[in-house]
């Protein structure tokens, strides 16, 4: 089902401190939408809130996707609806291999109420084949399939495995939280290429790319750019807005906002 992700007047706080102060944003299917903003502007809070992190409290507003206000759904229900969050800091799960984790995630998403999970589970051979292919495309060594998820991985390895998960889970709406942070230029290119080829293969997929720097947007070309400052979207535009930001820095927008 095609659907827009619609965020309306979203207010979010952590422990009484309000971070998002009324965000309005629409991400259309088949588009790449960049969110840019300085540190502390609330970008990551937005990503976590969309995915349903229990540490963030929504005090006002709605997030609509596929006919539901997803704020009423558990994180795993949101994932089943087709949402995916590529983490800025992926979490290590000791003792759980990349392959077993992915298979559990795929099968959880394929599960249907009232049906035997064995019936809906991905056939083992098909899973192995897909995993091998996707790992090769992302330049991930096959040995990673048997390693414990994110345990002892370098920053670049973690980000690649995030994209691998995205490729295997085929979300209809992906949120990428500062996927470029901590990556050198070569790793950045590989990750960006992975996202681009996924977007090509799934032309209906919407992507929300959250980043501090314009650098990533040289490799993942956005259709739309929104700038977030102090918990609000303060500017919207096309890809040229990212270039303008790169040139002038965030201060020029800050001054604009103050003037208006």
């Amino acid at each position: 089902m095609k659907s827009e992700l619609v965020i309306k007047d979203l207010h979010v706080g952590i422990e009484d401190k309000e971070i998002l102060k009324g965000v309005n944003l629409t991400v259309r299917p088949g588009t790449i939408h960049a969110i840019m903003g300085p540190n502390g502007s609330g970008k990551s809070t937005l990503a976590y809130t969309i995915a349903g992190h229990p540490g963030y409290t929504v005090t006002r507003g709605e997030i609509w996707y596929k006919g539901q206000n997803i704020l009423e759904l558990e994180p795993d229900e949101r994932a089943k609806l087709g949402l995916f969050l590529a983490f800025q800091y992926p979490v290590a799960i000791p003792g759980v291999t990349v392959a077993n984790f992915l298979r559990a995630a795929i099968n959880a998403q394929r599960a249907e109420e009232g049906k035997d999970p064995k019936e809906t589970a991905i056939p083992m051979a098909q899973f192995r084949k897909e995993l091998r292919e996707k790992m090769a495309q992302l330049g991930i060594d096959e040995a990673f399939a048997r390693r414990y998820l994110n345990e002892g991985f370098s920053g670049g390895e973690k980000k690649r495995v995030e994209i691998l998960q995205m490729a295997m889970l085929r979300p209809s709406m992906a949120v990428m939280d500062e996927t470029d942070s901590g990556l050198d230029i070569d790793a950045l290119k590989v990750v960006a290429q992975g996202v681009n080829s996924l977007a090509e293969q799934n032309p209906e997929m919407g992507v929300l790319v959250i980043t501090h720097y314009q650098r990533l947007l040289n490799y993942i070309k956005p259709h739309f750019v929104s700038v977030v400052m102090d918990g609000r979207v303060v500017r919207e535009g096309g890809p040229e807005l990212a270039l303008e930001l790169e040139e002038k820095g965030y201060d020029f927008i800050r001054e604009e906002v103050v003037r208006s």
Binding site: D76, R78, L85, V91, P94, V96, Y148
Partner: protein
């Protein structure tokens, strides 16, 4: 030979005369009968041990039937092994056929007079296996011994004696297993492991007693020069467990890799007291102990690393981690490190205790995995370093299913 259990006396009716008579009637050598009698007298005369974290007040041993002559040991035997000179039989049978070998080792690793219950063990042991692997003999197939018990009101007192001669290698799996018992039963197991110079042993010990079983156990390994021990313990069963375990790295260059998984649920109280003693030079020990508790369970890790004066160039590392699945469950950790040498290469200790990590849960749920399943995966992953060392697929799956069922 199965003794008619109806005729067995209760512990309260036992005497040194009866123990001596039973031993002689079974054809046991005099030295063993004398040891049993001495141990029985020690049991009768000694005070109950004062254990701060093992509460035996609910245990009523008076009516428990002594296991004189009982046979609860099953030995999987392979004809080809005999041709290699391997001995694998019940300890009782080994006393007849290999008396000198048994006498040389029996009771030299686990001291019968440690406390009241070790004395009771030494007086009454009947079941268990004797396993001897000759010099430079490598066994590819794991050997497996299973000890059971008769049910409520009975005691089982197994003694496993494992001897690896120089350069021998072996995988040995021992299982203590029973159904839940309607009432109380007593298990007093002891296992002694001897690794000759250059020997290599993978030792897997699994405790899956049913509810109602009270276990007071002892295990000790004596590791020779350049010998290597891989020890994996899994403790899932029993109402109460008090297990004192020790690895003595006696020979220079000896090595132990020691992992354990303990999972307590319901009203279980499970205590493990592992001691790692570095005696030889350049010895290396790694301990990784994992505990999960839920409901009203209480688990204790009471461990100690001791590095003796002569143990130069030692490497020793202790990790112990506890995971609490529900708020009422408790775990205590009392790690100790005593160093009597000034030439330690590396010695360290890491310890954590807490609930399931919310960030891990959120990460897994963000991939579509429901909360309960995520907790299952986290617990299984937590135990993975231990389960990974279980040599048989069938056993690993069986233990996995037991753990899954407990979560």
């Amino acid at each position: 030979m199965m003794t008619n259990i109806q005729q067995l006396p209760a512990l309260a009716e036992l005497s040194d005369t009866l123990i001596a008579e039973t031993g002689r009637a079974a054809g046991e050598p005099d030295w063993l009968v004398e040891r049993r009698v001495a141990a029985w007298r020690h049991f009768v005369q000694s005070e109950p041990p004062f254990w701060r974290r093992t509460d035996l007040t609910k245990f009523k041993p008076e009516g428990i039937v002594a296991p004189l002559g009982a046979q609860h040991t099953a030995v999987q035997w392979d004809e080809q092994l005999a041709a290699k000179g391997v001995v694998f039989t019940t300890l009782a049978a080994a006393l007849r056929d290999h008396e000198e070998l048994v006498r040389q080792y029996l009771g030299t690793a686990v001291d019968p007079l440690t406390h009241k219950f070790s004395a009771l063990h030494a007086a009454l042991w009947q079941d268990g296996v004797f396993l001897y692997v000759p010099k430079d003999t490598a066994l590819e197939v794991p050997l497996h011994a299973v000890v059971t018990l008769a049910g409520a009101g009975f005691a089982t007192v197994p003694h496993n004696l494992i001897v690896l001669d120089r350069g021998a290698s072996l995988t040995f799996v021992e299982e203590f297993v029973s159904e839940d018992v309607d009432g109380q039963a007593l298990a007093l197991p002891a296992t002694e492991l001897f690794l000759g110079d250059g020997a290599s042993l993978r030792y897997v010990t699994i405790q899956t007693w049913g509810h109602g079983v009270y276990q007071i156990g002892a295990q000790r390994a004596i590791v020779g020069r350049d010998a290597s021990l891989e020890w994996a313990a899994v403790n899932l069963g029993a109402t109460l467990q008090h297990t004192e375990a020790e690895t003595s790295l006696v020979g220079d260059g000896s090595h132990v890799n020691w992992v354990a998984a303990t999972f307590g649920g319901a009203d279980q109280a499970l205590l493990t007291a592992p001691w790692l003693r570095h005696i030889g030079a350049r010895t290396e020990g790694h301990m990784d102990f994992k505990t999960v508790v839920k409901d009203n369970a209480y688990a204790t890790f009471d461990g100690m690393i001791k590095i003796e004066h002569e143990s130069r160039g030692t490497v020793s590392r202790l990790e112990e981690h506890a995971l609490h699945l529900t708020p009422k469950a408790r775990s205590d950790s009392i790690p100790g490190l005593r160093i009597d040498t000034n030439d330690v290469l590396r010695a360290g200790h890491a310890s954590t205790s807490g609930e399931v990590d919310e960030e891990q849960l959120f990460y897994m749920r963000s991939r579509g995995i429901p909360r309960d399943e995520a907790i299952h995966m986290i617990v299984m992953g937590f135990f993975e370093p231990v389960l990974d060392r279980i040599p048989s697929e069938e056993l690993r799956e069986r233990l996995g299913a037991l753990i899954e069922a407990k979560i």
